[in-house]
C-alpha cells in the first residue's frame, strides 16, 4: 500500500516559504563564529546578572573541589611488547647460588613480573640438596633496601664509575704496596682476576700486591690443626647422614657452624626413627644452641673443658683413664656409642683453638672416620680466614703503617675486628682506601672510595664451595642501581676490562671464560640452568700424622662464649627486619643480643622471668679491660660458670647508613637516638671483646657484675615449659618406639560413652561429634600438613619463608614485646622441667606441681614445635564470627575473608592453638612501622608477593596453607587435564624446611605422603580431645637415648590397655 500520509515540521514546510527553502540545507541556523561573537561591540556592555554570577561561582567551586579530589596518579605499565619469559601472573624460577662470605647454598629464586620475591633451596641440584637457612631466604629483602648504595662514592659523595675507576687505577699503579682484604673468595673467576692482578702488580716475585682473606668469624684454628695433622690447610667435608654416632664439642653444625645448609639436610635424613637407623647425637657445649637442643644427650661444659672432653673420650677409647668433670656421664654414654659405631661416627669441634681441633682430629683418626664420614679430598673452600695475616694487617693499619692502597671486598673490619676502633683510626691515614660494599657501613664510610657491588640477585657469580663442586649465581633482575659487580671492578682496575654499565656483560663473559677453561664449552648452558656442576676430584692423598697439641684454651673464672645466632650470624644482614624479628630458636628473643646465663646462677641477682612490662636486669661483662653492658637472659642449659653473648649486633654504632631496620625505634615511630644524636644500634657489638693468640678466640675469661636498671626484652614466648601436658608435645625414646605398641608412646585420647547396653565404655575422641562433618573426605581435595617433631631442628627457615611468601608485616621490637608479632607460623620451644620425665610426660601425676613445672630443668631436653593454623574441620573460630568472615572451604581449609572481617577478635580468643594474628595497626602505613616494615618503603614494597593481599588494619589474618599456591597448582593441573600429583603442591614452610619435617599434600589422595604420615604410628593431633578435628598431624618426637623414667611411664600406659 502506498504511503499517503505526509508529515511536515511546520507550516513553513507545508507552504514551502522562500525563507524555509533558504535555511533548509543549513544544519544550525544563525551560525555565528566565535570571532564574530567576540567582535561584537555590545559584548563589553553586557552585564552578568547576580543569579548568573552565583551560578558561575557555584560551578567553579564545585569544579575546583572535584578537581582537588582527584585520586593520585598510579602508573600502570602495560606490556605493549611482551617480554620473553615473563607472563603476568606466572612466576619464573631461576636456579642460582647464594654465598655471602659465610652461608652457602644452591637456591631457586622465584620472580614475578621480573621481580625476585622468594628464595628456596634447590633440592634437585647442588650438594646442599635444598638446605637453606633463614638468612638465605631473607636475603631477597636486601635487594630492595632503599639504603643500599646506588652510585659509587668518592670521599663520602656521590661520584661516577669513570672518576672512581680512574682514581683507583692511578693509585694502584702509583702505590708501593697494594693490599686486597677480602672475605673468603670461593669464586674461581675472582680468584683468577686476583691472580692476574697479582701477576701484573708483583711481576716475578714482587711483593707490591698482597691478598689477605679475612672472615668475621674465623675457622683458622681448624685449618691450622689440619695443616699440622695432614699437611694442608684444608677443611674436610663431613657427612652427617653416614654417622651413626655424632659427637659435637661446641659445634653448632645445624645452624651456624661451617656449612649448616648441607649438614642440616644430612642430619635430617637420619632423625626419622622409622628409617633404617637413627643417628645418636651427643653435644657438649656451653650455650644451648640449636644443635644442642636437638641432641639426644647433651653435656654442659665450659669452653675450657672442650679439650678435656675430647681427651677423656680418646683415653676411654684407648682403654685408659682421664680426668672428667660433671659431664662424665654424658661422655661415658658417648664413649659407649662410639665404641659401637666406630668409623660410622663423626666428631666435630667448634673451637677456633688449634689444639682442640687437633684433639678432634686425633679422635676421628682413632675411630677411623676419615674416608667414611669425613672426606678430606672433597674439602670445603669456605672460611679461609687467615687470622695471623689479617691481624697483622689490622695492627699495621692501626699503627699507621698500612699499605698505600687498601681494597676491602665483602668485609667490614672496623666492625668485626677485635681492634676495630684502632683500625678505623688508622684507616683514615691510608692514602687510598677502597671498599667494595653495598652499604656505606662502618668500614666503607671511612674509605676514600666506595664501589658498590651488585646485590647477589642482580649479579653473575661463580663458586667452588667444595673442591670440584662448581656453581654459578645468575642475575634475576636488571641491576636496580648504578652498581657494578665486584669481579668487574677488579678487572677494570687491573686494566683487563672496561666498564659495561648497567647491562654489563663483563662478569658474565669472564665467568664463562673461566668455565670454558674448566670444562667443555657446552657445559655453561647446563650450568646456568641448574646452577651447579660436579667435577671429579682426585682421591684424598692425606694421611693423619700425630702432631704436638698446641694452643689449648685456659680456664679462669667465669667464661664467656661469643656465639652466633642463626638469624643474625656475623651481623652482615643485621639490617634485615625479617631476620631481626625472627625469634631466636632457643630464647625466642627478637631484635636484641644479651648475656645468656643459667637461671640457677641468676637467682638473687637477676630477674629470671620477664614479660611485656618486666624487662631483664642488666649486667656488665668485662673482658681484658673492655666491657659491655647487656641484659641477662635466663637460659636453661647454659653451662654453670659460663655466659654467652651473640656476635653480630651493635651494627652502625656511629649512625652509618646501613639500613633503616638496623636501629632501635621509638614507641611512636622514628629511630631512638644516642646522646650524640645518632640512631641507637640494636644490641651491642662484642667483636671488640674477642682476643687473639695464634687464632681468634671465641671464648674468654670475664667478670660479670650486675648493673642498676632493667631492659625491656621482646620475646615471642614468655612461658617455657609445656606444664606436663601430654596432648601438645609427645616424646618417646627409640627403644620404646621400636619395641612397644603405639599406645605406649602415642596413646590416643579416649572419652567415656554409653554402649547399647547402657554400660560405660571408652571410645576414641573421633567418635564424638557435636557437628555434622564437613563433606570433604573422598570428595575433591582435603589439604593437610604433617610435622615431624623428630626431624624438626627448630632453625626458623620455615618462619622466614612464610613471612616472605605471605607478606607478613614486620612490627618491630616494641610491638613484639607487647606480644603482637604477626608470624603466621611460629615455632614453640619447650624445655623439660624437673617435674617431667620428658617434655609433656609427668613424672608422677600424684605429686605433680604446677609451680615447679613452670621452671625449666638445669639442662633441659628441648622440643621444637612448629605451629600454624590447624585448619580444623570443626573450627571453633568459624562458629563465633558474627559476620562469617572465616569459613571452611570444601577442600578442608579454614579461610579468612579479609574484606569481610570486622575485627572482633572472637575467633582468635576461641582458637585453642592461638595462631590467629590481628592487625592492631595499619602496618603498611602507620608511622610506628616506617623503619621496620618493608611494605612502607617504595622500593621495599617490591618484595611483596602479588598473589597475597596486604592486610589492612583491624582485620584478622592467619596461615592460609598458602592457598595461592594451592590454586596455582590446581590451575596447572587443570590446564593439563590431570589430577595433582603428590608433592606437586608445597607450602612456603615445607619448601624451606631443610630436614623435610613439614609434609603437605592432599589427604584425600590415598597414596599421598600426607595420608601415609597421618596414619602412621607416630601421628597424633595436638589437643585432639578438644574435638576440633584439625588437618595438621604431628609425628611423635623420638629421642635416641635411654630414659628409664619415661620407659616406666610409657610401659605403664601401654599395660593400661
Amino acid at each position: 500500500m502506498e504511503m499517503t500520509k505526509k508529515y511536515w515540521k511546520g507550516i513553513d514546510e507545508l507552504n514551502q516559504t522562500p525563507e524555509f527553502i533558504k535555511h533548509k540545507e543549513q544544519e544550525f541556523p544563525n551560525q555565528q563564529s566565535v570571532e564574530d561573537f567576540l567582535a561584537d561591540e555590545n559584548l563589553a556592555e553586557s552585564s552578568t546578572a547576580r543569579r548568573d554570577f552565583l551560578k558561575f561561582l557555584g560551578f567553579s567551586v564545585a569544579a575546583a573541589t572535584l578537581a582537588a579530589c582527584e585520586a593520585p596518579v598510579t602508573k600502570v605499565v602495560p606490556y605493549a611488547v611482551k617480554p620473553e619469559n615473563v607472563t603476568p601472573g606466572m612466576p619464573t624460577w631461576y636456579a642460582s647460588t647464594y654465598y655471602d662470605g659465610a652461608s652457602y647454598a644452591s637456591i631457586m629464586v622465584k620472580t614475578r613480573e621480573g621481580r625476585p620475591i622468594f628464595i628456596k633451596g634447590n633440592k634437585d641440584f647442588g650438594f646442599t640438596k635444598g638446605g637453606t637457612n633463614p638468612q638465605i631466604i631473607a636475603s631477597v629483602l636486601g635487594l630492595y633496601d632503599s639504603e643500599r648504595l646506588a652510585d659509587p662514592q668518592a670521599n663520602g659523595n656521590k661520584s661516577s664509575w669513570a672518576t672512581v675507576d680512574a682514581a683507583i687505577s692511578k693509585a694502584i699503579s702509583g702505590a708501593k704496596k697494594v693490599t686486597l682484604l677480602s672475605n673468603t673468595v670461593i669464586s674461581p673467576s675472582i680468584k683468577r682476576a686476583i691472580a692476574e692482578m697479582s701477576v701484573k702488580l708483583n711481576g716475578e716475585g714482587g711483593s707490591k700486591f698482597e691478598h689477605i682473606q679475612y672472615d668475621a668469624v674465623s675457622y683458622a684454628g681448624m685449618r691450622e690443626a689440619n695443616l699440622s695433622n695432614f699437611g694442608a690447610r684444608i677443611i674436610p667435608s663431613y657427612d652427617f647422614s653416614k654417622a651413626k654416632t655424632i659427637v659435637s664439642v661446641g659445634a653448632d653444625f645445624l645452624s651456624t657452624w661451617l656449612l649448616p645448609t648441607e649438614f642440616a639436610v644430612q642430619y635430617g635424613t637420619r632423625r626419622n626413627p622409622e628409617g633404617d637407623w637413627m643417628s645418636k647425637h651427643f653435644q657438649f657445649e656451653s650455650v644451648l644452641s640449636v644443635t644442642g637442643s636437638n641432641a639426644d644427650v647433651r653435656g654442659m661444659i665450659k669452653p675450657s673443658e672442650e679439650a678435656a672432653v675430647l681427651s677423656y673420650i680418646i683415653a676411654a677409647l684407648q682403654g685408659k683413664s682421664a680426668a672428667a668433670g660433671s659431664w662424665k656421664a654424658a661422655a661415658d654414654k658417648a664413649v659407649a656409642a662410639l665404641k659401637k659405631s666406630k668409623k660410622e661416627s663423626v666428631v666435630v669441634a667448634g673451637s677456633n683453638h688449634i689444639g682442640v681441633q687437633q684433639l678432634a682430629n686425633q679422635l676421628n683418626n682413632i675411630l677411623g672416620t676419615y674416608g667414611t664420614t669425613i672426606d678430606l679430598a672433597n674439602s670445603i673452600n669456605l672460611h679461609q680466614s687467615e687470622d695471623a695475616k689479617a691481624l697483622k694487617l689490622a695492627a699495621d693499619v692501626a699503627a699507621g703503617k698500612g699499605p698505600e692502597v687498601l681494597i676491602m671486598m665483602g668485609v667490614n673490619p672496623v666492625y668485626s675486628l677485635p681492634n676495630g676502633a684502632e683500625f678505623a683510626k688508622g684507616l683514615k691515614s691510608i692514602k687510598t682506601s677502597v671498599a667494595i660494599s653495598s652499604y656505606a657501613d662502618e668500614t666503607a664510610s671511612l674509605c676514600t672510595y666506595i664501589c658498590p657491588d651488585h646485590h647477589q640477585l642482580e649479579n653473575w657469580t661463580d663458586h667452588e664451595a667444595k673442591a670440584g663442586e662448581y656453581a654459578v649465581g645468575q642475575p634475576t633482575i636488571r641491576p636496580l642501581h648504578n652498581t657494578a659487580s665486584a669481579l668487574e671492578s677488579l678487572l677494570v682496575w687491573n686494566g683487563a676490562a672496561s666498564r659495561g654499565g648497567q647491562d654489563s656483560a663483563v662478569a658474565y663473559d669472564y665467568i664463562k671464560a673461566t668455565f670454558a677453561a674448566l670444562s667443555p664449552a657446552g657445559d655453561f648452558a647446563y650450568l646456568t640452568h641448574n646452577s651447579c656442576i660436579e667435577k671429579p676430584v682426585a682421591p684424598a692423598a692425606f694421611t693423619y700424622t700425630a702432631a704436638p697439641i698446641k694452643d689449648l684454651p685456659k680456664a679462669n673464672g667465669t667464661e664467656v662464649v661469643f656465639y652466633q645466632k642463626p638469624a643474625i650470624g656475623n651481623g652482615a644482614l643485621a639490617n634485615n627486619p625479617w631476620l631481626q624479628e625472627l625469634p631466636d630458636p632457643i630464647t625466642k628473643v627478637t631484635w636484641d643480643n644479651y648475656i645468656t646465663m643459667n637461671p640457677v646462677e641468676m637467682k638473687g641477682k637477676y630477674a629470671t622471668t620477664y614479660d611485656q612490662e618486666h624487662g631483664l636486669n642488666l649486667a656488665k661483662v668485662t673482658v681484658n679491660g673492655k666491657s659491655v653492658t647487656l641484659p641477662v637472659y635466663p637460659l636453661p642449659g647454659q653451662a654453670p660458670g659460663t655466659i654467652g653473648i651473640a656476635l653480630g649486633y651493635g651494627r652502625g654504632a656511629n649512625g652509618e647508613k646501613i639500613g633503616k631496620a638496623a636501629y632501635q625505634t621509638k614507641e611512636y615511630g622514628g629511630h631512638a637516638t644516642q646522646e650524640n644524636g645518632q640512631p641507637t644500634p640494636i644490641g651491642a657489638n662484642v667483636f671488640g671483646l674477642l682476643s687473639a693468640a695464634a687464632t681468634i678466640s671465641y671464648e674468654a675469661s670475664a667478670t660479670v657484675s650486675p648493673v642498676e636498671g632493667t631492659y625491656p626484652i621482646a620475646a615471642t614466648q614468655i612461658h617455657h615449659t609445656v606444664m606436663g601436658r601430654d596432648s601438645i608435645v609427645r616424646e618417646t625414646t627409640l627403644s620404646i618406639f621400636k619395641n612397644r605398641e603405639k599406645d605406649a608412646y602415642n596413646e590416643g585420647h579416649k572419652l567415656q560413652k554409653l554402649d547399647k547396653h547402657g554400660n560405660h565404655v571408652e571410645a576414641p575422641v573421633s567418635e564424638f561429634d557435636l557437628w555434622a562433618a564437613h563433606p570433604v573426605e573422598k570428595i575433591g581435595h582435603r589439604w593437610g600438613i604433617s610435622i615431624d617433631l623428630s626431624s624438626c631442628i627448630g632453625c626458623g627457615s620455615c618462619l622466614v619463608a612464610c613471612q616472605s611468601e605471605n607478606n607478613v608485616p614486620v612490627v618491630g621490637k616494641d610491638e613484639v614485646r607487647r606480644g603482637r608479632e604477626m608470624h603466621w607460623l611460629r615455632i614453640d620451644r619447650y624445655f623439660a622441667s624437673d617435674e617431667e620425665a620428658a617434655v609433656g610426660a609427668k613424672k608422677d601425676k600424684e605429686t605433680f606441681s604446677y609451680d615447679n613445672a613452670e621452671i625449666a630443668a638445669l639442662n633441659p631436653s628441648v622440643v621444637h614445635m612448629p605451629l600454624m593454623c590447624h585448619h580444623c574441620n570443626h573450627a571453633p573460630c568459624e562458629t563465633v564470627c558474627p559476620v562469617a568472615a572465616t569459613t571452611h572451604s570444601n577442600e578442608g581449609l579454614n579461610q579468612m575473608a579479609y574484606n569481610r572481617c570486622i575485627g572482633t577478635r572472637y575467633c582468635a580468643n576461641n582458637c585453642p592453638y592461638k595462631v590467629r594474628r590481628f592487625n592492631w595497626f595499619n602496618y603498611p602505613s602507620y608511622k610506628k612501622f616506617t623503619e621496620v616494615n618493608p611494605a612502607q618503603d617504595d622500593l621495599g614494597r617490591m618484595v611483596l608477593n602479588p598473589d597475597v593481599t596486604v592486610r589492612t588494619r583491624g582485620v584478622m589474618e592467619k596461615c592460609s596453607l598458602c592457598v595461592q599456591r594451592i590454586q596455582a597448582t590446581k590451575l596447572v593441573a587443570k590446564k593439563e587435564a590431570r589430577v595433582i600429583a603428590d608433592g606437586e603442591f608445597a607450602t612456603a614452610c615445607s619448601d624451606a624446611c631443610p630436614t623435610n619435617a613439614i609434609v603437605v599434600g592432599d589427604w584425600n589422595d590415598l597414596k599421598s605422603m600426607i595420608r601415609e604420615k597421618s596414619e602412621g604410628v607416630r601421628a597424633y593431633q595436638a589437643l585432639e580431645e578438644v574435638g576440633v578435628k584439625p588437618n595438621v598431624w604431628y609425628q611423635v618426637k623420638v629421642r635416641n637415648e635411654e630414659n628409664s623414667l619415661l620407659d616406666h611411664i610409657q610401659q605403664v600406659a601401654e599395660a593400661h590397655h
Partner: protein, 462 residues
C-alpha cells in the same frame, strides 16, 4: 481503744501531701541548679570528654593502642562491656519484675534505676562497637539486605546474639522508662512558667491530659511492657554469658554461666542503684521517699544475689576439679594461684564475703556501710569479668602462647571516660527529668486516713 496490727514501716516518711510530692520532685527541675551540680557535671564532662578523645584516638590509630596482644584478644573492652551490661540489669528488674510482684517500694527507686539502666546500656554498647577492628563496617552484624553478593550474618555466633539481645533490651527499657515518664512530664509541663520549658515538656509529655482513659492505658501498657521486659532481664545476661559459655576456652566453657551471670548482673546493678540513690536522696532532698527501708530491701537483694554468685564461684571450682580435665582444672588453679591471683582474690573478697555482712541487720540498715559495700561490690564485679576474660585466655591450651595483659593508658582512659559519660547523662537526668515517678508515688502515699490518725482530732476521740 481499738487494736491495730503492727504495720510495715511506711514507704514515705513524714506527712507528705500529694502537693508535697509534686513539689519535692519538681523543685530541682524548676529551681536553679545548685553549685555542686555544676561542679559534678563539670568533672564528669571532663572525664567523659577525655574518654571520647581516647576513643577518637583509638578509632584513628587502631586497636593496638590498647594493651591487647596475640593471646589476649579481649581484656578491658569486654570486661567493661559486661560490667556495664550487668549494671544495666537492676533498672528493668526493679521496674518489671518488681512491678509484676507488686512490690510497691520499687516506686521510689524505679525511675532513676531505669535511667541508670539505659545509660549503663549506652556505655555497655559502646564497647562492642569500639572493640571492633573496623567499626566503619560494623553494620555488617545486622542481617540487612545487601549487595555484597548478599552476604548473611552468622547465626551461630554468640556475638550476633548479643547484638539482638542488647538492642532489644535497650529499646524495651527505653520505651518502658519513657512510658513511665509521660504523666510526670505532663505535671512539669503544667507547672512550667518559662515558654521554652513549657514547649519542651509539652512535646515530651505527648499531650497527656490525665484523663481516666489515659491512666487506664498507661497501666495496661506498663503491665504489658513489664511482661515483655521480664524475660529480657534473664535473657540479656544469659546471652552475654554465651559469648564465653559456647567457646572452647577452659574457664569460659562453663554451663553454669547463664544463671551465674544473671545473678551477678542483678547483684552489681543493685549496688550501682545504691551508690547513686544514696547520693541523690541527700543531694535532692528525697530522704522521705528513699530511706532506710528501701536501702534495706535492696541490700537483701544484694545479699541473695551475692550468695548465688558465691555459690557459683565455688561450684565452678568444684566442677573444674571434678571434671578431671587437665586444662579446666589448671584454669582455676591458675586463677587462684597464678599471676592474676590478686584479681581473683579481690573478686572473692568483694563479691563473696562483703554481701554476707548484710545478714547483720544493723549493717544492712546503715546507709554509710551500704554506700561503702555498693562500691566494693562493683569493684568486685569488675574483677569478676576481668578474671573470667583475661585469666582464662592468658593461659589456655598451648603454654608457649601464654601471655600477660597490661592495660595501656588508653584502656584506662576509655573506661574512666564511660564512667564520666554515664554521670554526665545521669546528672542531666537528675536536673531535667523527674527523678521520682511522682504520679506513681502518689498512689502509695498514706492518704487522709493516716493524716487523720495522726491529727489531734483522732486522739481526742480515742
Amino acid at each position: 481503744m481499738q487494736k491495730e496490727a503492727a504495720i510495715r514501716e511506711p514507704l514515705i516518711l513524714g506527712h507528705k501531701t500529694y502537693h508535697d510530692v509534686t513539689e519535692d520532685v519538681c523543685r530541682p527541675i524548676e529551681d536553679k541548679a545548685p553549685k555542686m551540680w555544676y561542679i559534678l557535671f563539670g568533672i564528669a564532662l571532663v572525664i567523659g570528654l577525655y574518654g571520647v578523645g581516647s576513643i577518637m584516638y583509638l578509632l584513628g590509630t587502631g586497636i593496638g593502642v590498647w594493651g591487647l596482644n596475640k593471646t589476649i584478644g579481649w581484656a578491658w573492652d569486654i570486661t567493661n562491656f559486661v560490667w556495664w551490661v550487668g549494671i544495666g540489669h537492676a533498672g528493668t528488674l526493679i521496674s518489671a519484675v518488681l512491678l509484676l510482684f507488686r512490690q510497691k517500694w520499687r516506686m521510689a527507686i524505679n525511675r532513676s534505676a531505669e535511667a541508670m539502666t539505659i545509660f549503663a546500656v549506652f556505655m555497655a554498647g559502646t564497647f562492642p562497637l569500639i572493640h571492633m577492628g573496623r567499626l566503619w563496617v560494623g553494620y555488617w552484624v545486622m542481617p540487612i539486605p545487601n549487595q555484597f553478593g548478599s552476604l548473611w550474618v552468622n547465626f551461630n555466633s554468640p556475638l550476633l546474639w548479643d547484638v539482638f539481645a542488647i538492642s532489644t533490651y535497650l529499646s524495651v527499657s527505653l520505651v518502658f522508662w519513657y512510658i513511665g515518664l509521660i504523666p510526670d512530664f505532663a505535671t512539669i509541663r503544667d507547672r512550667a512558667k518559662k515558654p521554652l520549658a513549657k514547649k519542651m515538656y509539652s512535646i515530651l509529655s505527648f499531650g497527656w491530659s490525665g484523663r481516666a482513659k489515659h491512666w487506664n492505658r498507661f497501666e495496661l501498657v506498663s503491665l504489658v511492657l513489664a511482661g515483655l521486659a521480664t524475660p529480657l532481664v534473664f535473657s540479656v545476661h544469659s546471652i552475654v554469658s554465651f559469648d564465653f559459655a559456647t567457646s572452647v576456652i577452659p574457664g569460659w566453657h562453663t554451663t553454669i554461666f547463664p544463671p551465674y551471670f544473671v545473678a551477678g548482673a542483678v547483684f552489681s546493678g543493685f549496688a550501682m542503684v545504691q551508690t547513686l540513690l544514696l547520693i541523690m536522696r541527700k543531694a535532692m532532698g528525697l530522704e522521705a521517699y528513699i530511706h532506710t527501708k528501701h536501702v534495706e530491701y535492696m541490700n537483701i537483694v544484694i545479699m541473695v544475689t551475692g550468695s548465688i554468685v558465691g555459690t557459683a564461684y565455688i561450684t565452678e571450682l568444684f566442677i573444674s576439679w571434678y571434671s578431671g580435665v587437665e586444662y579446666e582444672s589448671y584454669a582455676f588453679i591458675n586463677r587462684a594461684t597464678g599471676p592474676y591471683w590478686w584479681a581473683y582474690w579481690s573478686m572473692m573478697t568483694c563479691n563473696v564475703i562483703s554481701p554476707q555482712l548484710m545478714w547483720i541487720r544493723r549493717l544492712r540498715r546503715s546507709l554509710l556501710f551500704t554506700f561503702f559495700i555498693s562500691i566494693v561490690v562493683n569493684i568486685g564485679m569488675w574483677f569478676e569479668r576481668y578474671v573470667i576474660i583475661v585469666t582464662s585466655i592468658h593461659r589456655d591450651y598451648i603454654p608457649a602462647a601464654w601471655s600477660m595483659h597490661f592495660p595501656s593508658h588508653i584502656d584506662i582512659a576509655v573506661y574512666l571516660g564511660t564512667i564520666g559519660l554515664f554521670f554526665v547523662f545521669f546528672l542531666l537526668f537528675a536536673r531535667y527529668f523527674p527523678v521520682l515517678a511522682l504520679n506513681e508515688v502518689k498512689t502509695i502515699l498514706k492518704g487522709s486516713g493516716q493524716s487523720y490518725k495522726e491529727s489531734p482530732d483522732y486522739h481526742k476521740h480515742h
